[in-house]
């Protein structure tokens, strides 16, 4: 999956699950302060990302550190990279 695919699909999650317009979906957007999500939304964000990308991240401690949309792009991309690394190994 390309970086652009990660960004596009992550943004789709925010549009579909949280009804946030495309124009607000910039990498530096803080998911609580700028996009208005709260702790309950984070549970649903994880579920939606799992569904969208076919990954299991519910117990991944790195989720706790996510603050911006850019953090999510990087985190999802790193999962893809980890899978590639595991295959290569």
């Amino acid at each position: 999956m390309t970086e652009q695919d990660v960004i596009r699909k992550t943004n789709e999650v925010f549009e579909e699950s949280f009804e946030i317009g495309k124009e607000r979906l910039v990498p530096e957007a803080h998911i609580f302060n700028d996009l208005g999500l709260d702790s309950l939304d984070i549970v649903d964000l994880v579920v939606a990302l799992q569904k969208k990308f076919g990954v299991v991240i519910r117990s991944d401690e790195r989720v706790q550190k996510i603050r911006t949309l850019g953090d999510i792009y990087q985190f999802i991309a790193s999962l893809g990279q980890e899978r590639t690394d595991r295959k290569d190994a």
């Binding site: 208005g36 309950l40 939304d41 549970v43 649903d44 579920v47 799992q50 299991v56």
Partner: protein, 408 residues
């Protein structure tokens, strides 16, 4: 202790006949049926009844996402009906957070759509990881009450009556009791329900649904009729503002009527079959608590769902208490059986009939069944200024409720 008086000062509804009380009354006045075929329901193996009365789910995005995320359709209906009721009442919204205003909205079993979604997610792989945080709030039996209370910032008593098809009337009754006792000044109260094939299915397996009119939906249900063959499920929400009389008077509120009597009881005899004796006891006790004689009642709004057994028992019970003098009609031929919403929705329609001076007939009642004779059925509109009405609501589980309302 001097009990307080309780009046209805605001009403709101989302019904199969449309958004708002005016759509409800216009549909009834025009004799329209909201019952239609339900494409896709035939996929449910063994489901005999393929008709229902859906309500319009519109303008839901007017409710902000973070408030709406915990709402299934029935909670959205309830918020919209509550908005209308509060607007209609002219109630000062700053009082909603005073702790003196409550919210009691009943339903049969909570959010049927969400409950089924949870099963569909969890059961195939016993996997919890795809469950969203909001499913609990959308499913629970108090989903409508909690969502309305949270949406309006209500801090008083919040409860959800759960007595199947008597839930809505029990909610109004519970509000009546709280206000009478002086524990609340006002309560948003009523009932809500949402359609799902499994809801119709729960009646279908008991052979209580209408299955003979799948090709001609508007001809069913047929309360008290010789060709009645069961109920048709509907959905929606009905909410009214019950208010302490002096409180309402002090703010010069319009009063639709005063609740003067209420009773709810169990038959203690059978879980599914209505009992003529128990229904009569319920109505008599409601009249007694209102200090009203049967002859003083101007109109009875029947529960009559068009089941073969239930209508017969209700007709007999009404005959036992009122003989054949009081006009009786059921509204389910217009919009089906809205289950947990029905008692409150039909009470709203009845209060509007009192206000307008026209008593509406039972739709689809073309030939009164032999076993439902001996009471004064309304088969056409009756111009009559009803001053005192009785509303019945009965439920699976042998539960009964009856309420008396007087015009002021």
């Amino acid at each position: 202790m001097q009990l307080k008086r309780v009046v209805i000062t605001g009403m709101g509804a989302v019904s199969p006949l449309g958004m708002g009380v005016s759509s409800l009354m216009q549909g009834i006045a025009e004799g329209r049926s909201a019952v239609r075929s339900m494409p896709g329901w035939e996929a449910y193996k063994g489901l005999r009844s393929l008709v229902a009365a859906p309500a319009p789910l519109v303008n839901e995005k007017d409710i902000p996402r973070q408030a709406r995320r915990s709402m299934g359709p029935m909670s959205i209906f309830s918020v919209q009906a509550s908005q209308e009721a509060l607007r209609d009442s002219g109630f000062d919204s700053s009082q909603l957070a005073s702790g003196r205003v409550g919210c009691i909205i009943g339903s049969t079993m909570g959010g049927a759509t969400s409950i089924n979604e949870v099963f569909e997610i969890m059961i195939p792989k016993k996997d919890l990881t795809l469950l969203t945080s909001m499913k609990f709030f959308q499913c629970v039996s108090h989903t409508a009450a909690l969502n309305v209370a949270q949406f309006f910032g209500i801090k008083g008593v919040v409860m959800a009556t759960s007595a199947a098809c008597a839930s809505g009337l029990q909610a109004v009754g519970a509000a009546y009791d709280l206000i009478r006792l002086g524990r609340q000044d006002a309560v948003l109260c009523g009932g809500a329900e949402e359609l799902h094939p499994t809801v119709t299915g729960s009646f279908d397996v008991l052979f209580a649904t209408s299955a003979g009119f799948n090709q001609s939906p508007s001809e069913t249900p047929r309360p008290f009729d010789a060709k009645r063959d069961g109920l048709v499920c509907g959905e929606g929400a009905a909410v009214m503002l019950a208010e302490e009389y002096e409180h309402a008077r002090a703010r010069k509120a319009r009063i639709y009527g005063e609740i003067t009597g209420y009773h709810t009881c169990s038959s203690g005899l059978h879980i599914s079959q209505s009992s003529r004796e128990a229904l009569a006891v319920c109505m008599k006790n409601a009249l007694k608590s209102a200090e009203v004689l049967p002859a003083e009642v101007d109109y009875i709004n029947a529960h009559a769902t068009a089941t073969v057994q239930g209508d017969k028992e209700e007709a007999e019970a009404v005959r036992d208490v009122f003989k054949d003098t009081v006009p009786v009609s059921s509204l389910k031929g217009y919009f089906g059986h809205t289950l947990g919403a029905s008692g409150a929705l039909e009470l709203i329609a009845t209060l509007m009939m009192m206000k307008d001076g026209t008593l509406c007939p039972t739709r689809n009642l073309t030939e009164v069944a032999e076993d439902c004779k001996g009471i004064r059925h309304l088969q056409k509109p009756l111009q009559k200024k009803a001053r005192c009405i009785l509303k019945n609501a009965f439920a699976l589980g042998g539960l009964n409720a009856a309420m008396v309302v007087r015009a002021l």
